[in-house]
C-alpha cells in the first residue's frame, strides 16, 4: 500500500487495561494493550467475540459502560491523554477529533429524529455555526458518503433507509467534525456482502482523501485484509500479534493467528470443486474472564503448548516489522 502515511502517530495507546467491577472483585477484560495509528493509516483489531476488541474501541472515546472501567494505561490523541480528561472536556473531543461508527446501523440511529437533524447535531454540538450553515454541511456530507438525492434523505427518518444507507449516514455523522481518528466497530458485520464491500470501500476512500486514521474492529480477517495496513490480533484481552497485513498473511507467527487464517472460508473451495474442504477450526473455547489461566491464555487450545506456556505469559517480542507474544514464535511454522 503506497499511501501518504505520516510519521507521528495521531493515536497512541499505551498499556491500556480495562476491567469489570464485580462483587467478586475486578475481572480484567483487556490487559496492557498498546498500539498506535498514524494519520491516514488503517489498523485492524481482530479477534473472537469477547476478546476485548469492542471494549477497547469504546475506551478510545471514554465510553466504556459500567460496570466496566479503564484500570490503567493512556490513550493519547494528538498528544493529549484522553483518559485524564474530565467528562466535559472528553465530550468536546468526541465527535470532533475522534469519532466512532457502530455495528448495528438499525439501532444506532435515533428513530424519532430525521437523518438530517442527527447529522446537524454532530456539527452544532461542537461548532458555533448557524443552523443554516450546519444544514448545508450536513447535505454536503450526505453527498460525500454517496447517498443519492441528499435533499430528500435529509428529511427522512432512519426507518425509511436500508441498512447500507443508515451505515452511510453513520459515517457522514462521524465525519462531520473532520476527526483525526475514526473508530469503526464491526461496521459491516450486519450488512449484506455487496453492501459490506461498498461501505469498506467508502471508509478506505475517505481515509485516503482526508488522512483520517482508522481503527477497524472486526472478527473477520478476510473482510478487511484488502484495505488495512496493519493487523493487531487480540486473544482473551491481550495482543498476541501485530504485523503488517501482507506479512501477517504470508507468515503468521502466533498459533492463534494461524488458526484464524486457516478458519477463513476461501474462494475456490466452493461447491464447484470436486472435493469440498472442511473449514479448519480452532478447538476449544476462549477461557472465561474469571478463569483466566496463569500463563498464555491460548495454551489450553494450542497444539504447541508446553510447560513454559502454562506457567508464564509470553512477552511481546519483535518479529521483523511487527510484534508477537508467543514462547514458540519463530521455532516452527509447520503447525
Amino acid at each position: 500500500m503506497s499511501d501518504p502515511v505520516s510519521r507521528e502517530p495521531v493515536l497512541a495507546v499505551d498499556g491500556l487495561s480495562i476491567g469489570f467491577q464485580t462483587r467478586r472483585g475486578l475481572l480484567p477484560a483487556v490487559r496492557e494493550l498498546s498500539f498506535s495509528v498514524r494519520s491516514g493509516e488503517m489498523l485492524a483489531i481482530v479477534g473472537e467475540s469477547g476478546c476485548g476488541k469492542s471494549l477497547t474501541a469504546l475506551a478510545l472515546l471514554g465510553l466504556v459502560p459500567p460496570p466496566g472501567r479503564v484500570t490503567g494505561g493512556t490513550v493519547r490523541l494528538e498528544g493529549r491523554d484522553l483518559l485524564a480528561l474530565d467528562e466535559a472536556a472528553l465530550r468536546r473531543v468526541r465527535g470532533a477529533r475522534i469519532s466512532m461508527i457502530f455495528q448495528e446501523p438499525m439501532t444506532a440511529l435515533n428513530p424519532v429524529l430525521t437523518v438530517g437533524e442527527q447529522i446537524m447535531e454532530a456539527i452544532l454540538e461542537h461548532e458555533p455555526v448557524s443552523r443554516k450553515a450546519a444544514r448545508g454541511r450536513a447535505l454536503a456530507l450526505l453527498e460525500r458518503v454517496r447517498i443519492p438525492d441528499p435533499e430528500r434523505r435529509f428529511a427522512e427518518y432512519p426507518h425509511r433507509l436500508s441498512g447500507g444507507m443508515r451505515q452511510r449516514v453513520m459515517i457522514a455523522m462521524a465525519l462531520a467534525g473532520a476527526p483525526a481518528v475514526l473508530v469503526a466497530d464491526e461496521p459491516t458485520t450486519a450488512l449484506d456482502v455487496t453492501i459490506q464491500a461498498q461501505i469498506l470501500g467508502l471508509i478506505d476512500e475517505l481515509r485516503r482523501e482526508q488522512g483520517t486514521a482508522v481503527v477497524f474492529i472486526t472478527h473477520d480477517l478476510g473482510v478487511v485484509s484488502r484495505y488495512v495496513d496493519r493487523v493487531l490480533v487480540m486473544y482473551a484481552g491481550r495482543k498476541v500479534e501485530e504485523r503488517g497485513t501482507r506479512d501477517l498473511f504470508a507468515d503468521p507467527l502466533h498459533p492463534y493467528t494461524r488458526g484464524l487464517i486457516a478458519a477463513q472460508p476461501r474462494a475456490g473451495a466452493g461447491p464447484a470443486g470436486a472435493e469440498r474442504q472442511r473449514l479448519a477450526e480452532i478447538p476449544g473455547t476462549v477461557p472465561a474472564l474469571a478463569a483466566m489461566p496463569a500463563g498464555c491464555a491460548f495454551a489450553p487450545r494450542c497444539a504447541l503448548a508446553d510447560e513454559r506456556c502454562v506457567q508464564a505469559v509470553p512477552p511481546a517480542r519483535r518479529a521483523g516489522s511487527g510484534l508477537v507474544a508467543c514462547h514458540h514464535a519463530g521455532e516452527t511454522h509447520a503447525v
Binding site: L61, L63, P65, R91, R92, V93, R94, G95, A96, S99, M100, F102, E104, T107, A108, L109, N110, P111, V112, L113, E121, A122, E125, H126, Y157, H159, M170, M173, A174, A176, G177
Partner: protein
C-alpha cells in the same frame, strides 16, 4: 390520514353498538325496575298502578323491543327521559359533562406534567437521593386510596388552613362572572383535580423513570455520546422523546378508569359532574339516565383514544396511520 379517520369512524360505530348492547342487558340483569322503585317510594302501590306505570314507560314491552327502541333513539341522539329527574337525559348529561371533562382534563394534565417531570428527574439522578425520594413518594401516592387522599386534603387545606374551598364548583354566595368566575372555578378545581391526579401521577412517574432508563441503554444514545452531544441534550432530545411513547400508550388505556375514578372524587368534593349523576342514577334505578351516561362516557373514551392514536403518530414517525 383521511383513510384512517374513515376507518376509525366505522370502528367507532361498531364499538358503540356493542357498548349499547352490553350496557342495556347488563342493567336489565339487576333485579327490579324503575316502576318498582317509583312505587316503593310512594309508600304503597297496587298491582294495577304498577302495571299502569310500566305501560306508561314502555317497560311492559319485551326486552328486544325496548333495546331496539333504545338504539333507534340513540341514532337521533335522543337518550330518553329521566323519570326521576323529570328532564331529558341528554339535557342532564350536557349540564354535567363540561364539569367532568374539566375535572378529568385538569387531573390528567396535572398527573402527566408532574408525573413525567418527576420520572424524568428520577431517571437523570438514578440511584441518587433524589431518585430514592421520588420513588418512595410515588409509591405512597400509588398505594393510598383516592377517597382518603381527598378527605385528608380537605382536612388540611380547607378546614385547617382554610386556603381552598371544601367542595362544589363555584362559591354559592357570590354571583360572579367573567374572569372572577374562572378564578373561582379554578380555586374549587385544585383539590379534586389533585386528588384524582395523584394516583396517575405516581403511575406516570414510575413509568417515565423506567422508560427513560431503558432508552438510556439503547444504541442510539451511545451514538449520541460518541458524537459528543451534551448530556442535557441527550436527555431532552434523544431519551425523552422515545420515553414518551409508552406513556402515551398507558394514557390511552387509563382514560376509562380515570372516568371511573371521577365518580369517587366528585362524590367526596360534591363536584357537579357526570360521576355523581351516575352514582345517583344507579341508586335510584334511573335506567335511562344511567344508560345515557354510560353511553356518553364510552363515546368520550373512544374519541380520546383516537386522539391518542393521532398523538402517537406525531411522536413516533415509524407509526403510520394505515
Amino acid at each position: 390520514m383521511l383513510t384512517y379517520l374513515r376507518r376509525s369512524a366505522a370502528q367507532v360505530v361498531f364499538v358503540l353498538l356493542g357498548i349499547a348492547l352490553i350496557n342495556f342487558f347488563l342493567l336489565h340483569l339487576a333485579p327490579g325496575d324503575a316502576a318498582q322503585v317509583l312505587a316503593g317510594e310512594s309508600g304503597a302501590a297496587t298491582p294495577e298502578y304498577m302495571e299502569a306505570l310500566r305501560r306508561q314507560f314502555g317497560l311492559d314491552q319485551p326486552l328486544y323491543v325496548q333495546f331496539l327502541r333504545y338504539l333507534g333513539n340513540l341514532v337521533t341522539f335522543d337518550l330518553g327521559y329521566s323519570f326521576r329527574q323529570s328532564l331529558p337525559v341528554s339535557e342532564l348529561i350536557l349540564q354535567r359533562l363540561p364539569a367532568t371533562l374539566l375535572l378529568m382534563g385538569t387531573a390528567i394534565g396535572f398527573a402527566l406534567v408532574a408525573g413525567c417531570s418527576l420520572g424524568f428527574l428520577a431517571a437523570r439522578r438514578a440511584g441518587k437521593l433524589t431518585d430514592t425520594v421520588i420513588s418512595i413518594v410515588a409509591l405512597l401516592f400509588y398505594a393510598t386510596p383516592v377517597f382518603w387522599v381527598g378527605i385528608m386534603l380537605i382536612v388540611v387545606f380547607s378546614v385547617m388552613l382554610d386556603w381552598l374551598p371544601v367542595g362544589g364548583m363555584t362559591s354559592v354566595e357570590a354571583n360572579l362572572s367573567g374572569l372572577a368566575l374562572v378564578g373561582d372555578v379554578a380555586l374549587h378545581l385544585v383539590l379534586p383535580a389533585v386528588t384524582l391526579g395523584l394516583f396517575y401521577l405516581a403511575i406516570y412517574a414510575r413509568l417515565m423513570r423506567a422508560a427513560m432508563l431503558e432508552v438510556y441503554g439503547q444504541d442510539f444514545v451511545r451514538t449520541a455520546r460518541a458524537k459528543g452531544v451534551r448530556p442535557r441534550r441527550i436527555a431532552w432530545r434523544h431519551v425523552l422523546r422515545n420515553a414518551l411513547l409508552p406513556i402515551v400508550t398507558t394514557l390511552g388505556v387509563q382514560l376509562g378508569s380515570i372516568l371511573g375514578g371521577a365518580v369517587l372524587v366528585e362524590t367526596v368534593f360534591s363536584w357537579p359532574g357526570l360521576g355523581r349523576l351516575a352514582f345517583a342514577a344507579l341508586f335510584q334505578r334511573d335506567l335511562n339516565l344511567l344508560l345515557g351516561i354510560l353511553f356518553c362516557s364510552s363515546v368520550v373514551v373512544v374519541l380520546v383514544n383516537i386522539a391518542v392514536d393521532l398523538v402517537y403518530t406525531l411522536l413516533d414517525p415509524r407509526i403510520e396511520l394505515n
